[in-house]
């Protein structure tokens, strides 16, 4: 079973009178545990592809199988469920809840999954603590995002992405808002987590240095695959 199977995915947007084809039949597979970069110039359909792979959006046509489940025609709530169980998101701008502590931010996906907040093994708090330890933030658990550096905030976001043990992690320019030194640390953390946990990692990036650290790069141009090296 592959982590991702995409068959002839098309996405058409209606912009007023004009139909815009953002994806024109994209097909590829990604195996479990792979580290993939998605690259391409602005307007190449990169974001659309990422939204589709992350189950934030449905393709107009085509088939998409995520971790063995066909998701192309699920309802909004079913997609929310899939995102909760199978996808972890990391954003360029971290997207943490600013009023909540680090640990509460990490717990959030578990809340929507309906796990009880108790201290028994597998409980929400325990799993959040474990995730924060995995990103090296065990001494910053009760800090709010405003009290953390950019790199630390992105680590909290990474902890939030892995806390549900997802099949894939979608990272959208994860180092885009960080200086190069911190960016390197974040990249190596992501790669370490991929090695230790076997989580499939998909990174959308402009940065060739980031892409160079992945096993494979999917290049998009004008809504189609340019190369899948």
């Amino acid at each position: 079973m592959n982590a991702i199977e995409a068959h002839d995915i098309r996405k058409v947007y209606q912009m007023g009178e004009v139909q815009v084809e953002a994806l024109r039949g994209v097909s590829f597979t990604i195996q479990h545990g792979e580290v993939i970069a998605i690259m391409g110039p602005s307007g190449s359909g990169k974001s659309t592809l990422m939204n589709t792979l992350g189950c934030l959006d449905r393709p107009s046509s085509g088939e998409y199988i995520l971790d063995g489940e066909p998701v192309a025609s699920l309802s909004d709530d079913q997609l929310a469920d899939i995102r909760n169980r199978k996808v972890g998101f990391i954003f360029q701008s971290f997207n943490l809840l600013s009023r909540q502590t680090a640990i509460t931010n990490v717990e959030l996906p578990l809340r929507y999954a309906g796990l009880r907040q108790d201290n028994s093994n597998g409980g929400r708090r325990d799993r959040a603590i474990e995730a924060l330890k995995a990103v090296g933030l065990e001494d910053r658990m009760t800090h709010r995002p405003t009290e953390l550096s950019g790199g630390q905030q992105q680590r909290v976001a990474i902890a939030r992405a892995i806390v549900n043990d997802p099949a894939i992690i979608m990272a959208d320019e994860p180092t885009g808002n960080l200086d190069s030194k911190v960016g390197k640390e974040i990249m190596s953390l992501l790669l370490t987590l991929n090695k230790e946990r076997g989580t499939t990692l998909i990174i959308v990036t402009h940065d060739p240095l980031v892409a160079a650290q992945t096993q494979r790069t999917i290049r998009l141009r004008d809504g189609a695959l340019e190369s899948a090296s």
Binding site: A80, N95, Y112
Partner: protein
Amino acid sequence: MTVWQGFLEALESLSGNKLRSGLTVLGIVIGVAAVIAMLAVGRGAQESITGSINSIGTNLLVVFPGGKEQDRFRSLTMRDADALRDQLAAPSIEAVAPTLEIGGEVTFGGQQTSSPMIGVTPDYFQVRNVNLAEGEFITEEHVLGRASVVLLGSEVAQTLFGHTDGVTGETVRIEGQPFRVIGVLESKGGGEFGSEDDQIIVPLTTAKARLMGPKSGQAGDRIDVIYVQAASGDLVSQAMDEMAQILRARHRITDDVDDFTIFTQQDLLAEAESITNVLTIFLGGIAGISLLVGGIGIMNIMLVSVTERTREVGLRKAIGARKRDILVQFLTESSLLSFLGGMIGILLGWLISFIVGQVAAANNAPFTPVVGIDAILLATIFSAAIGLFFGIYPANRAAGLEPVEALRYE
């Protein structure tokens, strides 16, 4: 997401913008306080009026001349009143008090006042629950002898003498004729039918013979109003039937159109209640409008809040929040706002009612606003419902956001 966590999260989010939340809550506070206070005022008015109706007598029935049909009018007479006293025909009747209502000018020294004057028989005092502050009641002898004696209402005594005690034994002039004051009525305060403190009571026969002037010739046996006391509260309606039967027989009424009208105290109570209910609904309705405005304030703020937190909603959706989760989150916030407002509003409304009562008491008005449990329940439920109702639209908006769009929102 459990209810308790949702509650805590909503509390946290609201306290993140204290000034804005406070101002939003204020709208509901004012609305609920106004509703509570207005309902309390209405209820207080009702109780005050009910009290004054109860004070006009016990198990009282009143017979007026004239029926529903305008053209059929026949005065009541002394013999009508005597017939009602018939224990065989009217066993449910305890006492009958015919009265004659006239007006007149009373003077003492340089002071004068014109007050409603009423001619009565000794039964009147029992039937109408009249008590004396000093002196004695009008007796059978006074009536038989057409004695020139008078009982003064406390207000009349105050006007004439400048004080209400120790005036018994003085002589006042009514329509120029000397009358001996034999007592002063106990003050009852303002009543439904004008103040009973501004009243002069004389024997019925005296009123007819000496005070009606040239009209007394035509008057003959005529009297104005007959007050009747039923033997007990349960017998009021039976007494009413007996009276109607007797009067119909005496007035030779064969169809159903009476030429007299009988009111019971219950009728008056019911009528007063319906009037005060209208008053209460009116006041409450006006107050309700401010509650509505408060609710719109909540909707407004929630809409702003949804727009501000579009990215947050997008993120929550991205990590697995369903539509319902977002909906509940925003509804919890709006309900919490209005519920808090409701609680504070109830306290404030109670305080306002209390102050109104104190002001009324300071002005000697017999009026105490009453904050009822039902008003509190109504306000609580209504304010929570307002939070839900006005929260639905903004919450739906948030829940309906597309995650992709929401995440991209700046």
